[in-house]
């Protein structure tokens, strides 16, 4: 199928025909993955809105973008599953919240914005970090508490940050990142950046008071803040209908417009985020509700099956899986063969395994690291350990 596509797009000439079989043998991805002829795809479901217009259901994309989506989401999926095994092997300790099933939100959002726009998320941040440009080594090293981690091993799973691409984390306390996100939007308006901030939170955090406080202030001051509720329908073990009187999270902004999006469809997410960015720059805050689903439990200590049935999980996996949707799109538009996609997945698997091996080799932080970064530029003050006599160090 790919061959026929090549044949139709390139001008036919004897030499080209002769070269075609050679091309197919070496690597067929090159011409396809750089192909930017627009393809129009309809989103799976229409958008529903509150106090604003809905964006169109037809999304412009192209082969390059779709293949990038596939690659990125497959990478994230593989990374999260690998993290699962590492946790069970006790190489990752503490809390580990996995994002598999929700990859479309991270990937779709990234496709619609630039690195000047800020993203701030809660503790389910591994994939958002990767979408913002984080490397696999940084992820696994941080999860295992090694020096090469993005936070030098001192943050852990819930504290991934990448300042140079405006990814502000990585926060453990539910809902606390939303006022921070509105603060980022304030700074953007103050410095006239013409950029927006996406503050991600979950359906559990949607009931936090500080969220409504921050939304109120953002609406009053016209801040370019986009509040994104990643609604995976369960706040740890509590289903949304048991936690929220009104589970229509996109409507809860009242005076702030809202949009409900199928969060398992990367193209719908991309469309909604583009729309939201435009809106926020002109009219102030907007709420996006991403209807998504997580396959794993809330965290690694939650089996994820006590409050929902296995049938539900497999049902969603069969019908709405984001990676599968993109795979079907790619195959139906003849952008790559099954085999090529499988090769990509094999490559990704190897990449992940290599990163894990590299991270395992990486050393743990030195004891002196305990006292770095407590204060900026340090004060020359002394810091004590629990017994106040040993581990005396002068804060650098």
């Amino acid at each position: 199928m790919a061959l026929s596509r090549l044949a139709s797009s390139s001008s036919s000439s004897r030499s080209a025909d002769l070269l075609k079989p050679l091309c197919s043998a070496i690597s067929l991805r090159r011409p396809i993955s750089t192909d930017t002829t627009p393809i129009t795809v309809e989103t799976s479901v229409p958008f529903t809105s509150h106090q604003c217009d809905t964006p169109s259901r037809s999304v412009q994309t192209n082969a390059k973008e779709l293949l990038t989506f596939f690659r990125d989401m497959a990478l994230m999926r593989r990374m999260e599953i690998a993290a699962d095994s590492l946790y069970k092997a006790k190489l990752i300790r503490g809390f580990c919240h996995l994002y598999d099933g929700q990859e479309a939100v991270a990937v779709g959002m990234e496709a619609s914005i630039t690195k000047k726009d800020c993203i701030i998320a809660a503790y389910r941040d591994h994939c958002t970090f990767v979408a913002r440009g984080g490397t696999l080594l940084e992820v696994f090293a941080e999860l295992m508490g090694r020096q090469a981690g993005c936070s030098r091993g001192k943050g852990g799973s819930m504290h991934f940050y990448k300042k140079d691409s405006n990814f502000y984390g990585g926060h453990g306390i539910v809902g606390a990142q939303v006022p921070l996100g509105c603060g980022l939007a304030f700074a953007q308006k103050y410095s006239k950046d013409e950029a927006v901030t996406f503050a991600l939170y979950g359906d559990g955090a949607a009931n936090q008071g500080q969220l409504f406080e921050a939304l109120n202030i953002s609406a009053l001051w016209d801040l370019p803040a986009i509040l994104v509720c990643e609604n995976n329908h369960y706040g740890m073990g509590t289903a949304e209908w048991r936690a929220a009187k009104s589970p229509a999270y996109y409507k809860r902004g009242d005076y702030a417009p809202g949009l409900k999006v199928d969060g398992m469809d990367a193209l719908a997410v991309k469309q909604a985020c583009t729309f939201a960015k435009e809106h926020a720059l002109k009219n102030g805050p907007i709420i996006l509700e991403m209807d998504t689903y997580r396959y794993h439990g809330h965290s690694m200590s939650d089996p994820g099956s006590t409050y929902r049935t296995r049938d539900e999980i497999t049902g969603v996996r069969q019908e709405r899986d984001p990676v599968e949707r993109i795979r079907k799109l790619i195959l139906s538009h003849d952008l790559a063969t099954e085999k090529e996609l499988k090769d990509i997945e094999k490559e990704i698997r190897k990449e992940v395994d290599d990163a894990i091996a590299q991270a395992k080799e990486n050393p743990l932080p030195e004891s002196s690291e305990l006292f770095t970064n407590v204060y900026a530029k340090g004060l020359g003050v002394e810091s004590f350990g629990a017994d106040r006599k040993e581990v005396r160090a002068v804060l650098p």
Partner: protein, 408 residues
């Protein structure tokens, strides 16, 4: 090494004859002081060890002279007593400090309830909204948790917000943001973000304000890693500390006191900064070290008058820096007098005094002739009735009795 600015010390080190300029700088403001609220004698602030800042700390000051931006004009002015400075009240000093910093750095902004159009509930931000506009002096709704969070988020990008809690007690609503995000983000991000925020507000026991409006939050915040805490007590150090706090890369919690806003003092005209981590020697002495901060400084000075009449020579140190403690100044004093009395407004349990006792005992136990005495407020919610409120807080008579007991 921190960027330490010494308003006084640096000036001393800059000029050729340190002692002369040091003293003359003191003369600049000491005789003209008048306190409308608290009676306090004016004392020259000279280092008790005789030498003027030419100790290791002075070496630190000299190391940084090349960076001492604030004291550029001090060398000329300090050595001459021609410019006596100007007289103002403490809240005006804070306002001056804020205004100067906002002019100097466009990234400084102020957020709080009623700070803008209303001018601030204690007039600290009066006139700033008109001068700098609504985007730099921001009136927030009554939502401490979120606007403190927003200030921290803005600080993560490089802005330098000054967040005002109308009363420090209200900041309890923002405790999560202050503890987890403000204090810890620099660490958990591996040093990627600094949070150059200043969180300020009046606290302490006022005049029959009731239990909820008379809180001393320094004891609750002191364990948070990553933050600095300072308490101002005079117009001079209020302005100096405010400016230093704004310029600091670390998050600073700046404690003011409700009853000290109308203190009048003459402060220098030129730009100066007080060291955030340094304690202030209020009255050098020989017999006993009295450590205090904020409003209790004035109770101590009042007691000191009585003590001097009775023949005692107390050394009074205003610790100013509540986190970290200036153990250098305190230690030198303890080594000299061998007796310590701490007078604070915090409650006895878990207060600043409790931590200070622990710090001094661990480091200077060999120099102590007697156990450290600590006078703190009673462990009760501050009552409304005036007489009860008076008993809750440490009074000068109790300080005198304590010193007599300590010096037996």
């Amino acid at each position: 090494m921190a960027a330490i600015f010494q308003g006084v010390g640096a000036a001393a080190a800059l000029s050729s004859s340190p002692s002369n300029s040091f003293d003359s700088k003191k003369f600049v403001f000491s005789p003209c002081r008048s306190f409308s609220v608290r009676k306090g004698a004016s004392f020259a602030v000279v280092r008790s060890d005789g030498r003027v800042n030419l100790n290791p700390k002075g070496r630190r000051a000299q190391q940084l002279i090349s960076n001492a931006v604030a004291t550029k004009s001090d060398s000329a002015a300090a050595s001459s007593s021609s410019k006596p400075g100007h007289e103002l009240l403490l809240f005006e000093a804070l306002q001056e400090g804020l205004e100067e910093e906002m002019e100097r750095d466009p990234r400084v902004c102020v957020m709080g309830e009623d700070v803008g159009h209303y001018g601030g509930s204690y007039k600290v931000t009066k006139g700033l909204a008109k001068k700098f506009g609504d985007l730099r002096v921001l009136d927030t709704p009554i939502a401490e948790n979120s606007f403190t969070g927003m200030g921290i988020g803005a600080a993560m990008t490089g802005l330098r917000p000054v967040v005002e809690g109308m009363n420090m007690g209200f900041l309890l609503l923002a405790f999560n943001q202050i503890s987890n995000n403000c204090g810890m983000l620099h660490y958990t991000s591996g040093g990627q973000f600094t949070i150059p925020i200043v969180i300020r507000g009046p606290g302490g026991v006022g005049r029959q304000l009731g239990a909820e409006h008379s809180q001393r939050l320094e004891s609750y915040f002191q364990s948070i890693p990553g933050i600095q805490m300072v308490a101002c007590s005079t117009p001079y150090n209020a302005k100096g500390l405010m400016k230093a706090a704004i310029r600091s890369e670390n998050p600073v919690i700046f404690f003011e006191h409700v009853l000290l806003y109308n203190l009048k003092e003459r402060i220098p005209d030129e730009d100066y900064i007080c060291n955030l981590e340094e304690a202030e020697m209020v009255r050098p002495g020989e017999h006993v070290t009295i450590l205090t901060y904020s409003r209790m400084r004035y109770h101590v000075m009042q007691a000191a008058k009585t003590l001097v009449n009775k023949g005692y020579d107390p050394e009074v140190i205003d610790i100013r820096s509540l986190k970290p403690f200036d153990l250098y100044t305190i230690g030198n004093s303890v080594k000299k007098t061998h007796r310590v009395l701490i007078v604070e407004e915090c409650m006895r349990t878990g207060g600043i005094g409790a931590s200070l006792i622990a710090a001094i005992t661990e480091n200077f136990n060999d120099y102590l002739d007697a156990s450290i005495m600590c006078l703190s407020s009673q462990d009760v919610p501050t009552p409304y009735a005036g007489t009860l409120e008076e008993v809750t807080v440490v009074q000068p008579a109790q300080i005198v009795t304590a010193v007599e007991q300590l010096c037996q």
